[in-house]
Structure formats: structure tokens, C-alpha cells
């Protein structure tokens, strides 16, 4: 889906004029296609979900880098057990897990849920899990079923709602 820049209506890709306000969407879509990079990684075939991963606590954290192409932001977060991804950092003492806050990346407008997904270190490598988000989590363009762990590789393309993020480690 694409979003009309005049009236905000959701339109199918390929629509030439916005059905709600009549804006010419052709120009907008041309630009949208140019923004998406990292094509060589973007369409890896879907991995099978990881069966019963054993979550490991690392003594020394592993740096994970997230690159958000649309906002040109780059975040590096140390992964010891898990990293939550969303747009609200819950600042309570019990929950000291690191959090990737996508609010500065227009997360709200692009459909990122408050607590959208989870990254974990397991005996089978790094895994990603969708936490029942409203607009879904996509791994290399494949819609992940909620609450199922999937293995992640460096360079993979993640999409939270409509926000594209690349992950490197």
C-alpha cells in the first residue's frame, strides 16, 4: 500500500490518482521505488521458524547495528539477552532490557506498534519474533506469523509495519 501525501489515504500500489482526493500518485511512487536499497539481501527465501530455541544470556554483549534508510539513522545496541523493538521505551526498573525506539524514524506514521517485535540471542543464533503487532513484521519481505521465532542473518531486511530496517551483526 502507498499513502497519499495530500490526504493520507491508503491506496494500492500502481494507483495513478488518489481515489480520495485526486492527487497524482505517479510521481510519488517513482520516488518511493528509488529509496529502497539493499536489494541483494531483500529477497532471501523465507527461513523456517526455529523450533524451541534455548535463550542464552551472553556475558559480554554483542553489538547489533540497525540501519533505517528512510531516516538515515543508525543505531548500535548491545544484545545480551534480548532487544525489544517499538516506539515506547517502558522505563520501569524491572525491565532493563535495551529497547530500539523507532519514534524518531516516523514509526508512528509508518505503523510501528508500541511493542512491535523482539530480538533474542539463542543457541541457534539470533532470532526475531513478532509480538502481535498491528501491522506485522516482515523478514526479507515475508510476513512473519506472530510469536514464532525466526533466525536472523546479518544483512537481513526487517520491516515493521511500513518502516524498513536493516540489521547487521
Amino acid at each position: 500500500m502507498i499513502r497519499c501525501k495530500d490526504c493520507g489515504a491508503s491506496q494500492y500500489e500502481g494507483t495513478l490518482y488518489c481515489s480520495e482526493c485526486g492527487r497524482n500518485l505517479l510521481h510519488d511512487q517513482r520516488q518511493a521505488t528509488d529509496v529502497l536499497p539493499f536489494s541483494e539481501f531483500a529477497h532471501r527465501s523465507p527461513p523456517p521458524p526455529v523450533a524451541e530455541p534455548e535463550i542464552i544470556n551472553l556475558n559480554e554483549g554483542k553489538p547489533i547495528t540497525f540501519v533505517v534508510p528512510s531516516s538515515r539513522h543508525r543505531y548500535t545496541i548491545l544484545l545480551s539477552t534480548q532487544i525489544k523493538i517499538g516506539r515506547a521505551f517502558e522505563d520501569d526498573s524491572e525491565n532493563s532490557d535495551p529497547f530500539l525506539d523507532l519514534t524518531p524514524d516516523n514509526g508512528m506514521e509508518l505503523g510501528v506498534s508500541r511493542i512491535h517485535a523482539l530480538l533474542q540471542w539463542s543457541n541457534q543464533g539470533i532470532i526475531i519474533m513478532d509480538l502481535n503487532s498491528t501491522n506485522g513484521t516482515f523478514l526479507n519481505n515475508h510476513h512473519l506469523p506472530a510469536r514464532k521465532p525466526y533466525p536472523l542473518q546479518s544483512g537481513d531486511e526487517l520491516r515493521f509495519g511500513e518502516l524498513l530496517v536493516h540489521v547487521f551483526f
Binding site: M1, C7, Q11, Y12, E13, G14, T15, L16, Y17, C18, S19, E20, C21, G22, N24, L26, R30, T33, D34, S39, A42, H43, F138, N141, H142, H143
Partner: protein, 489 residues
């Protein structure tokens, strides 16, 4: 083998009788009386062959059946799409298709006689200027028709009256005196007028004519709308085309659209009585020169796509009825080609793939004895990872732009019917902007006036609704016609 057919060799039409064949052969064979002129002369051999085949009933039948297949196609179908390659994503995507059916450039312009019926509303509300203009218009129309054409005139209110039974145009004076005697009274019951008109038309051998009924009304029909639509469907099967024009603002535009849909005819709004003549004339123009009759598009799309919307752009702008297994496109008239625009939704695909979209239009070819011709074309749409950016064809962009304004206006009405006055007002304001951008000043002013009315009284005027609906619709046809300079007829 020579491209000349056996009929050509004998100088005869394909409809020639056995006697014709014998006569022609006897006359032609005389040329080869000298023995020397016969030896290895291809002309002579061809003549013998032709006679041998065509004088034998069984062999002629076989030959005829082959002949049809080798004759050049009467009509051609071309298809363009807004994109050939679409990105592999997880959401559905829109692709537009522009279909054009055109007659061959060398097509003979032989005109067929028209069997025309005018069903005229003579309810009380027609009294005065409307009826006077109508009478004048009909008299002028009769002047435009050819002597061999047939005209039937019906006037109707709550019952129908035959003004003139099917009559040759050459008896012009009788017809005109009948028209002048039409008196206004009563309500509007369209079914009566329609039924009587069609019954009268059917007294003529319909296969020899281009049959068309034009209905004029200025009022809502009461309780017989469903009957009317059923009758319109039957009429289309009998090869009777239907056009419907509404005068003033007190009629039901959705009903008239439905009424003309089965035959692919035209419905339009006549704002001023003085315009009646223009609309009638425009409708009659080219009516007798029909290259293909009863064009219909088969709906056999693959499951991976959904047909969202269809609209006829040429020869006149008209929404298409998408229900059923075939979409009726009307006749291919002397005015030029038939163009339609389809909006098709492609469902998300998991892998790179190719979807073939087949299009098949069937038509009866007037110049070939109403023989059926199937026109096929197909387009492959590829789901790919990184499709290169490609510009959609300008004709598609233009048509979609205009069509979108028409559809925005339709949605204003839908919003209102659902009670969403605020949404309707917002939409109408946006439409005003788009109309201004397109240089449609008059329509923009109308839209603006209706926006204000909506803010003040919470509703639109019937007149404004029709002006906007048919105004934006006419805009589509005009845009497409600018580059489409077919010779006027």
C-alpha cells in the same frame, strides 16, 4: 496458391447461386476458345477449378467454410497496460488496461438502413418549452435520416400512444403532422412507452436493420423500473440498442444507466430543452455505419486478479455493467473505435511469477453477414523483485485522471446517502480543486456552489448532481477524443 478466391475468378459474390455460377463460367470460358490459349495457362486452370468446386454443392460448402477463416480480420483489438512488471510485495496492486477495438482502415463505408424508434415523454411536466423543443428536434432528426430508414414514434405518459407506426422516412410530411399533434398530460411510466416502442420495432425484419430506440424522459418512473430493465435485456438479445436521455433534473440517473447497460447504449443529461437537438443528432450520427454489432468482453480473468472497475471511454463515456459473464460494450459505429478502461487488482504473489491476462471480445461483423468474430489479445504481467521504473502510456494516465474525477463525484453522493455530510463536503472541495487544475472552470464553479449548499442546507441540488455527474462523464469522452480524430460522419 493464389490469394484470389474462386468467387473472384468468376467475378461473383460469395452469395452467388448455382445459376449465377453457371452463367459466369459460360461467359468467361468463351475467352479461351483457342486451343493454344488453354495450354498451361494459370488463368484457365483457375477458372476450371473454380467451376468444378463451386458447382458441386458439397465441395462448395467445404470451400466456403475455409474461405471464412482466410478472410482478413474485420476488427482489431489492441491492449495496453499501465505496467508490465510489478514489484513483488505483500500487498495487492492496481494495474490499468486500455482496450481498443478499431475497424480496418479500408473498411467499406456502406451504410445500413436504420430502424429507429423515439419514445417521447409527454407527461404534464413536459408541457411548454420542453415539448416544443422536442417536437422541433424530432422534425430535424427526420431530415437527417435516409429515405430507406424506418422511424417509429411513441409518446407516453401513464399509457403509451403510437404517434407513427414504423414508417419509411420518405413519407416525411405525414410523420411531421403526427408529431405536431402530441399533447402533454399525465404522469411518467416508462415501461409503457418502452414496451410499445419495442413491439412496434419488431414488426420490421430486425436483421436487415440497425435497430435503435431512443428514450426521452423528464421524470421518475413509478414502480416499473425492474420491468423496464428486464425488457431492456430482452431488447439487447433482439439486437435493439437503447439510449436514454433525461431532460431537467427530476429523473433517476442510476436507472437510466442501468437501462442502457444491457445493449451498451448511451445515457445522458440534457440540461436545457434547446440542447435536445444536439443530443439526438449526436446519437444518430454514424448509427447506420456499424462495423461490428453487440461487442462483448468475456470475463475470464485468472483467480489471482479481481476486476475492480470498468468504463467505456469511446465512442462515448459510459460506466460498464460488470456483473455477469460478459461485459456489454455496444456497437462499433461509424464514429471510430470503441475504447474501454479496466482497473484490475493483482493479489500479492509469494514468488516471482507471470500472470497472463486474456482478453476476448466477440462481435457480429455487419459487413460479413453478422458473422461472429472473436478478437483475442493477452498481456503478461510479471511480478519481479526489482522491476525497472516504467512510465505508463499517456492515454491511460489521461483517462484515469478524468475518470477519477467522475468517480470522486460519485462518491460524494454515496457519502451523502450514508449520512456522511462532512465527508461528502470534504470530497466535493477536493474535487473542486482537481477540476480547476484540469481547467474545467464551469464544473469547478458548480462543484463549489454545491459545496456551499452542502454546508448551508446539508444537501445537494438534483440539478447540481446531474450537471456534475454527466459533466465529469462528458469530460472523459472529450479528453480521449482530442487525439482521436476519426473522420466525422
Amino acid at each position: 496458391m493464389s490469394s484470389e478466391s474462386y468467387y473472384d475468378a468468376l467475378g461473383l459474390p460469395t452469395s452467388a447461386t448455382l445459376k449465377d455460377i453457371q452463367k459466369a463460367f459460360a461467359a468467361l470460358i468463351g475467352k479461351f476458345s483457342e486451343e493454344s490459349s488453354k495450354v498451361s495457362n494459370p488463368e484457365y486452370e483457375k477458372l476450371l477449378q473454380a467451376y468444378e468446386v463451386l458447382s458441386d454443392k458439397t465441395r462448395r460448402e467445404i470451400y466456403d467454410s475455409l474461405l471464412v477463416e482466410t478472410s482478413p480480420p474485420a476488427l482489431t483489438l489492441t491492449v495496453q497496460s499501465s505496467r508490465q512488471k510489478i514489484k513483488l510485495t505483500d500487498s495487492a496492486q492496481t494495474v490499468y488496461f486500455l482496450l481498443e477495438v478499431i475497424p480496418p482502415t479500408h473498411a467499406t463505408r456502406s451504410r445500413r438502413p436504420i430502424n429507429l424508434c423515439l419514445a417521447l415523454d409527454r407527461s404534464t411536466s413536459m408541457q411548454g418549452e420542453r415539448l416544443n423543443c422536442l417536437k422541433t428536434a424530432v422534425e430535424l432528426i427526420i431530415d437527417k435520416l435516409a429515405p430507406e430508414d424506418i422511424i417509429t414514434i411513441i409518446s407516453y405518459s401513464d399509457r403509451a400512444e403510437i404517434v407513427t407506426e414504423p414508417t419509411h422516412i420518405k413519407n416525411k410530411n405525414t410523420i411531421i403532422s403526427h408529431i405536431r399533434n402530441i399533447q402533454a398530460s399525465g404522469g411518467t411510466e416508462i415501461y409503457q412507452g418502452l414496451l410499445t416502442g419495442i413491439e412496434q420495432m419488431r414488426q420490421m425484419p430486425l436483421q436487415n436493420y440497425i435497430n435503435h430506440l431512443i428514450l426521452l424522459t423528464d421524470g421518475h418512473t413509478y414502480g416499473d423500473a425492474d420491468q423496464c430493465i428486464q425488457l431492456a435485456q430482452k431488447a439487447s438479445q433482439w439486437n435493439i440498442g437503447l439510449s436514454a436521455f433525461g431532460i431537467g433534473s427530476e429523473w433517476n440517473d442510476l436507472f437510466l444507466d442501468q437501462l442502457v447497460a444491457p445493449s451498451g447504449g448511451r445515457s445522458a443529461y440534457i440540461a436545457e430543452p434547446t440542447q435536445i437537438i444536439d443530443f439526438l443528432q449526436d446519437r444518430i450520427k454514424g448509427l447506420g455505419i456499424v462495423h461490428g454489432r453487440n461487442l462483448r468482453l468475456k470475463k475470464n480473468l485468472p483467480e489471482k486478479v479481481t476486476l475492480q472497475y470498468g468504463f467505456k471511454l469511446l465512442p462515448f463515456a459510459q460506466p460498464l455493467e460488470l456483473e455477469g459473464s460478459e461485459i456489454k460494450l455496444g456497437n462499433l459505429e461509424g464514429k471510430g473505435g470503441v475504447s474501454i478502461l479496466l482497473e484490475i487488482l493483482f493479489h500479492p504473489q509469494e514468488h516471482e511469477s507471470k500472470i497472463t491476462i486474456p482478453f476476448e471480445i466477440t462481435a457480429e461483423i455487419t459487413e460479413q453477414n453478422n458473422q461472429q468474430q472473436k478478437l483475442s489479445a493477452q498481456i503478461q504481467i510479471i511480478h519481479a523483485n526489482n522491476p525497472p521504473a516504467a512510465e505508463p502510456p499517456q492515454d491511460i494516465v489521461k483517462a484515469v485522471r478524468m475518470l477519477n474525477m467522475y468517480r470522486m463525484n460519485e462518491k460524494v453522493w454515496e457519502d451523502l446517502e450514508a449520512g456522511h455530510v462532512g465527508a461528502a463536503a470534504t470530497r466535493l472541495r477536493r474535487l473542486t480543486t482537481r477540476l480547476l487544475e484540469a481547467g474545467e472552470i464551469q464544473l469547478a464553479q458548480q462543484a463549489n456552489a454545491e459545496t456551499e449548499r452542502l454546508a448551508n442546507v446539508g444537501e445537494l441540488s438534483e440539478e447540481g448532481r446531474k450537471r456534475l455527474k454527466f459533466g465529469t462523464r462528458a469530460m472523459i469522452g472529450q479528453t480521449m477524443k482530442i487525439e482521436d480524430t476519426h473522420d466525422p460522419l
